[in-house]
Every structure is written in C-alpha cells, then in structure tokens.
C-alpha cells in the first residue's frame, strides 16, 4: 500500500525531488538503486513536488531510482537490548550484533512541559577541581565543552562519564574520527561501563545526513530510559559537525543564510536538542555533555555562540586546562550552597585573585616593576594553576576546598582576599606549616 515512485525529477547535493501524492511532512522513504539504498526524509512539499534529504547523500543516485514511502517519520528501537551496542546515525548496527526493530519510538518528539520539570538539585562529582569547586556540574544540566580541535575534549568527556554516578551512558558521535570512536568504545569497555552504554556513531567517513540524526536518536532513547527512572548521561561529540551538516542541507535547499552560511534557525535547532536535558518530577533525568569545537578558536563563531545562549554554561578547554574565565556552570548555585559553607567564597575569591594575577602577568610582560602586591599575585597564580587548574589533579571537592584555603593562606593576609571576616575566622588555616603537612 505504500507508494512507490520510479522517477526522480531533481537531484542537488543530498536532496532529491520526486512528484508524489499522499505523502506526509517529514515522512521517511527508502530509496533503492542498482548499487545502493538509503533512507530519505521529506523536508519540503510544494504541490506534488516533494523534496527529500537522502541519508546516504545524493552521490551515485540515478534518476530512475526507486522511492518507496514508508508511512511514518524517523523512528528508533527502544529496548534493553540496546545496552552495550553500537549503531550508526540511522540506527543500523555498527558492531556485529543483530539489528533491533522491536518497540519503535518516534524521534524528535515534543518537548517536556515546563510545569513537569523540577529544579535540579544533585551535584555530579567529577574529581576535577575546576569543575567541582568553580563550576559545579549538576544532574540534568546541559553543558558543552568549548575547545579548538586538538584539545583533549573527548578524553575529558570520557573521564567525566566514568566518574559520574549515572545509570546509562549514551554516546552520540558526529563526524568522529574512527580512532576516536574506538577510544570511547575501548575506554568504556576497560572500565566495565560498556554494558550500561549505547553508542550511536557517525564517523567522518559516513554520509552527512546521518550525522543529523545522531542527537535526536540519542535523546529519544535517553528520554525512554529517563522515563523508566534512570539517570542518563548523554555525550554528544562534536556538535559543530552537526551544525555543519545542517548548514550543508540549508544551502542545498537555497535557504537564506543568516550568519556565515548557517541557517536562521540554527539557534532553534540546537535548542530543540539541548532542551531535552531534564530532571522529571517523578522519573529520572537526562544530563547532556557535548563537545563544541570552535573554528579558529573563535567563541563568537555562530556554533559556539548560539550554543552558549542555549546551554547552562560551558567548560572552556584551552592548553589542556579548563579555563576559569569563560567557563561557567549556570546551575552551580543550585547545589554549591549545600556542599560546604565556604564553597562559594572560595569559588569567588580564588577567581577574582586569579584575574588579578592575569593583570599582573600583563604588567610584567610590559616590563613594569612588580609591587609587593604583584609578587603575591604571581606566587598565587602559579600555585593555582599547578595545584587546582591542571587536568591531572583528581581530588574530591572537600580536599580541593581545603587546598584552596591553604594556597590563599600561603600567599595572602586574610584582609587582602576580601573574604568576609566571619569566614576567615573559621577557615583560615591557623598554622600554615602544620596544616600544610596534613
């Protein structure tokens, strides 16, 4: 009963056009020809002219390919059997396992009713002071890592995933290099986490349109787990590749670009995915960590820029460190009042002083004489960078706070820090030497 057509009227880029009737918006079709086949999705209808984006791309498609409409839009399977498995962007097995087609669910479904959300309240511990102390990660947060290509954002994602106490990990790879994919798979396996993970991987060698499906598939599956009371962590890497795929389609469709070739709805498209992060009021949660590479290390590039407006902060990865400036967890204040009384003060004070250190460095570079205050800042900055900022540090929050006080006490007088007197009285290390040894 599904309609089949044998004549393609137009082919441009990854988009084909057929004349068809009775087709619904966003319906899927299977396109088959002598040397291949692919899924395709309806993206525009104008009278009988129906445009479809072909997942495998337009290359090699003959005008007499067979186009069979499937009567539904994009779906994915959902079952326990997904765990431990690896799939492509269109949900086909990528490992040697069987394909799964039970319990098909639509992807890209409606958003959560804001009235059914709750205020996030659980800290996610990472053992990384730049996160735990300064920009605390919170369950159900959506947060990207901004970095230039070449920074270790994928190892950082993997490290957080392994350290976080979550029930299910879903990895969405977009334009991944093959060895990056293997890195994730092997790391999860080594730490015994693969059996609670599902991987949807699009590699740089795969067709562009498949890349577009990855976030939606990952999040649809994540949503199902969350509804079953599971805490789900979704890793999406690299969202800039996702945005670039959208750009490619938009240009093929001759849409008017808004900014550097990206479509005007880039913000809405990214938001539709990131807003799937949620803490349900009587079920589980979805936390989203993404990688967003910044072309030319430019944070005003449309992809990081629009992302920053959507996500609940960002971690800036530069020179192997999470930068305190530019990095932000917008949800931190929901949890950092409940950790330890001095948490917020250490967080604010140490950053303000670090800003002072940066200014002093500039002065130093200009060849100005260093005042006594500058000398203190220089000493402080170096210790801060080595003992707290370095990604090699792996200590619990409480130890990091104690270390913070120690560094302050070793470098400054209490009044110089601007910390309220009540707190310095309680937390300022009384005997520097003694506490340093502890």
């Amino acid at each position: 009963m599904h309609k089949v057509y044998h004549r393609i009227e137009e082919i441009a880029g990854n988009v084909i056009m057929v004349k068809a009737a009775g087709v619904t918006y966003r319906e899927l079709a299977r396109v088959t020809w002598k040397n291949g086949d692919s899924l395709a999705q309806v993206i525009r209808m104008n009278g009988e002219r129906v445009s479809l984006q072909v997942f495998a791309g337009g290359r090699g498609i003959p005008t007499d390919a067979r186009v069979r409409f499937l009567g539904h839009s994009m779906q994915t399977a959902f079952s326990e059997a997904l765990l431990g498995r690896v799939f492509t962007g269109s949900g086909e097995p990528r490992d040697r396992g069987p394909s799964i087609s039970e319990n098909m669910i639509p992807i890209g479904g409606p958003s959560v009713n804001p009235a059914k959300r709750i205020i996030p309240r659980n800290m996610v511990r990472t053992g990384i002071p730049m996160i735990d102390v300064f920009n605390t990660l919170v369950e159900s947060q959506k947060l990207p890592i901004f970095s230039v290509a070449g920074e270790p954002y994928n190892p950082l994602l993997a490290r957080i995933a392994l350290q976080a106490e979550v029930d299910v990990i879903i990895l969405g790879g977009m334009g991944l290099k093959h060895d990056e994919y293997l890195f994730f798979r092997d790391t999860l396996e080594e730490h015994g986490a693969l059996s609670r993970s599902v991987l949807f991987i699009h590699t740089a060698a795969d067709p562009t349109v498949e890349c577009l499906m990855v976030p939606d598939i990952c999040l649809a599956v994540a949503e199902q787990y969350a509804l079953q009371n599971k805490r789900v962590l979704v890793l999406l890497t690299d969202m800039t590749n996702f945005a670039d795929s959208m750009k490619e389609i938009a240009i093929t469709m001759e849409q008017i670009p808004s900014n550097r070739g990206y479509p005007g709805d880039l913000y809405s498209q990214l938001a539709a995915r990131y807003e799937k992060a949620v803490d349900f009021d009587s079920a589980g949660s979805i936390t989203i960590l993404a990688a967003t590479t910044m072309p030319g290390d430019d944070v005003t590039h449309p992809v990081p820029d629009n992302t920053g407006y959507i996500t609940e902060g960002q971690f800036y990865l530069r020179n192997n460190r999470i930068e305190p400036f530019g990095s932000l967890s917008r949800l931190k204040q929901l949890v950092n009042s409940k950790t330890r009384k001095d948490h917020r003060t250490i967080m604010n004070t140490m950053i303000q002083l670090y800003a002072g250190f940066k200014e002093t460095l500039e002065k130093q570079a200009m060849g100005f004489r260093m005042s006594a205050w500058d000398e203190k800042l220089l000493k402080y900055g170096e210790r801060f960078e080595n003992e707290l900022m370095s990604l090699s540090v792996n200590i619990p929050l409480e130890a990091a706070l104690d270390l913070g006080w120690q560094i302050l006490a070793d470098c400054f007088e209490p009044a110089e820090t601007g910390i309220p007197s009540a707190l310095t009285e309680q937390f300022w290390p009384k005997d520097k030497k003694a506490s340093a040894k502890e």
């Binding site: 619904t24 918006y25 966003r26 104008n46 530019g326 917020r344 303000q352």
Partner: protein, 577 residues
Amino acid sequence: MSENIGKIVGVNGNLLTVEFSSPVIQNEVGYAHVKGEKLKSEVIRIRGSRAELQVFEDTTGLMVGDDVQFTGELLSVELGPGLLSQVYDGLQNPLPALAAEAGFFLKRGMYLQALDRAKKWAFTPAVKKGATVSPADALGTVPEGIFEHAIMVPFHLKGKLTVEEISAAGEYDVEKVIARLKDAEGQLVEVKMYQRWPVKIPIRQYAERLRPTEPLVTKVRIVDTFFPVARGGTYCIPGPFGAGKTVLQQITSRYADVDVVIIAACGERAGEVVETLREFPELTDPRTGKSLMERTLIICNTSSMPVAAREASVYTAVTIAEYYRQMGLHVLLLADSTSRWAQALREVSGRLEEIPGEEAFPAYLESVIASFYERGGIVRLNSGKNGSVTIGGTVSPAGGNFEEPVTQSTLKVVGAFHGLSRERSDARRYPAIDPLDSWSKYFSVVDEKDLEFARRVLREGSEVNQMMKVVGEEGTSIDDFQLYLKSEYLDAVYLQQDAYHEIDGATSAERQKYVFGVIAKIMRTKMSFADKEAARRFFQNLTQVTKDWNRQDMESEEFRALEERIEKMIAEVKEYA
C-alpha cells in the same frame, strides 16, 4: 456562519501554503487538520487565492490536500480574573492544566481554556441599573488574591452604554453574564466576567499618556542609582551569553516595586522558568505579606517550544499587562529574550522568501520592535487613576556584539540601556552592567550632584587604569592612583551586589540614598598615604569593612558599629589642609 475551509498545497517547516475560495483575513487564526489533531496557525501573507500560514506547532504528518479551517478571528487572549499566578504558554494555554491532561510532554493540538471555568469569584457590583458607562469602566469587582480585580465594560465596545441589568453580589464563574448593556443603537450586549482581545492590537482605553517620571525601584543599586527605570518606562538589557541578563531579570521580578510582574520567557531555557515557578510560591512578597506568586504571571514559551508561538508570546504578555494597567495597577513586563522573538520573525521571513535585511532579519524588524515597546507607558485612565506598563527586555546579540540589528533597533526606542559586559562578568563583577557604557533618561533615587561626582570618579578612575597599563604603576602619580582606588572601591561596594545574599541582594531606595551619601562623602575626601602600597592596603581593608556593612540590616546595631568604623578609618587617612 458557514465554515471557511482551505486546502494545503505546500509545507515548508512551519509554513503552510493554503488554497482558499472564500475571503480570508490577514492575521486570522486557522486550524490545520491532521489525523484528528487541529493545529493552530495564523495567516501571515495572502497572494491571490493562496494564503501562507505559520503554524504554532510541529508540522510533521501534514499532507498536501489536508483541510485548513479559517476562524475569522485574530489571535486573541482571554482577560478576566484568574490570570495572576498562572503559567501559560505563548498562546495562553495553562501549562499546569496541560500537564494534568497530557503528562510529561506537551501535546500538539491540545488547547485548553486560559481561565478556569469552574472557579467561582465573589462579585460585587459597582454600578446600578440605569447607569451610563463607557468601555473599560468597572461594572464590579472580584477579589483576586491581593487585588480587587475590576470587571470592566469590554474594550471593543464604543460610546456610551446604559446598564440594563447588573448581577447582585454573589459567587459566579467567569462565564456568568453579569451585566446587559444597551449601546447607542439600542443593541443589547451581554457582559461576562471575562473578555477577549486580539494580542497584536494595543488596548487604548485611557484619557492620556503621561511622561514616565516616577522611579520604579528595583533594589539593584547600580540600576536605581545610576541607570534608573521609571514606571511606564522601557529599558533593555543586551549582553553576551552568561553575562547575567536572566539573573538580573529574576532579581527584578522578585524585588521590583510594582503591583504585577509578568515574565515572558521567550525562547530561552525552560529550566530558568522552572526556578521561578517552583520558588515564587514559597517566597513572601514584602509589599503584601502574601506569596510572591500572587502578583506574578508567567508566559513561558521556551526555546524548544514551537517557534511561531514564541513570537506570539510577547504579545500575549503585553496584552495581559495592559489589561491590569486598566485597573490602575503598575505592571512590569520582563521579556527574556527579545532576540529570540526577532529570530522567530527571521525564520518566517526566510521561509516567505522576503528580501532579507542585515543578518537576514526582515526589513520591518525595527518598526516591529518599536511598536512593541510603544505599548509600555504610564497613562491616566478615564477613572482618573494612573496605571502603567513598564517593559524591560533582554537582548542576546550574536557574538555579544551590540552592533547588530536587534540591539540597535531596541536602543533607538527605549529609555534606559543596561549594557552587560563580558569583561565585568568574567571578573565576577555582578551585576555586570557596564557603568561607563550604560545610560538612562529617567530619574535616580539619589542626589544628582553626588551622582555626577561618582560618575566622574568612575570615568576618571578607569582612565587612570587604562593609563597604568601603558606607563605602569610607577609612572602614575599617587593622586591618580588614589582616584583609581576610589573608583575600584565604589565599584566593589556599591555597583557590585551579591544577588544571593539576603540583605545585600535587595537595597531599598531609602538605604541607597543613605549609603550612597556616605560613599559620596568618602569619594570627595582627599586622603594622604605614605605610598601606593599603603593606599592599596587601606582600600582593601575599607572595601572589606564596607562589604560587611552591606550585609547588615540597616536597623541593626552592627550596621551602626560598622559605619562608625568606616568613619574612623577615613578620619585616619584624611588629608588636613
């Protein structure tokens, strides 16, 4: 009236092309029928026998040939008791009720009545049979939380009307006809406890518009003292992401000295609305002693909700604001973010293939923004009372660069500009309003002369700072250095404010006047120091004591003690000529 049905001939994202045969109206509402669902849409362009409609929903599953039913009505909202403390989407669907019906997820095509039809309100008539009334006159009142909510003669009526019938005092639901009025032509009009009004048309039932002169106290020092907002004024908060736009609006929504606050969460994060939604019912409003939620209304059309409804949401919000203004109330509308609404316009404009302007925004962007802010204002109502709508909108400029169409169009029409700077937010100097770039045309709560002086200190202090970057501290005179330290001090203890501190977080106008007086005096005091190191150390200490002072209740013993300590410290460094 016979049904006016058209047929879908094209679908492109949320834009439908529909072939029609009976007349259609520009901006009328239509419903696209798809497999048992009806999707609300609005006519946005008509060419020949084809209309283009933007759908307020996801369009998956629509088919060429599907029906579209035209309603003949413009997009409207319900106005009546029960709006306050509600949470609506951009089309005025009550979200909690929707959740009760549909569960965790929003359900396409499900539209619920904005006002609860079952709830009874205690009506007291204000007019007698035979009285002559005009549109917007109160026919009676019902208590709505903290207010007497006026049931008014519908705004769309014209001229003088005679009250033929008016209900006695009693408990009625909103559908109850509480009055019958006779118009000049002798037609009888039934009046219920609610009326409908098209959102894109301003309500203009007032005697005159006044100049906004009364300050609207937000309890944010840098705002009320340096860049004030007036009741009935308009202002904007542009800033890069993470600079503090939303937090600033959240604080304002809590503390602002107004009767009603309407929050339009327009195309940004749902989570931020949830904070308000969950916290406000627990917080007490110091003005009324009741829950803060009772004076608040949220229009929530966050970023993953349908884009076209995002555009509608700011109009829904401002229409409800105007409605409460008609009762002689002061209403504050906070929209976060107006850029998302502008982007919604851009998306539709792109699909309509209109000739794009700068950054692909439509050419009419500027006039759309101007006419939106024009709906703010303070008015003298026909009753003689004053009512106001103050509008504060955030702007989210691409790349944080204010030289972009939405920021620039907004700056042309607003009365105050609170520009947030990345530099200040990176340095954790909150609220990150740039004290040198921002401006306001309204009146401050503090003494104008002190204020002028303080502005000069900030400006000159910043110049010294710039200079020091070139010539170094050693190349700076001790007097200049002192000026710089004073500007930093003013910044640290007055411009910066700890939003999360119970006392420091909200500074009353009275306290601002007082504290600013003390600080202005310090600014004017000539001090002498042995060297720069001593000066720096002095100001570090002074800053700390003053910050402690900010954290004390103004009536407390500690407040007085710390003030004395500050005075003593100043006396010790004061230069005696």
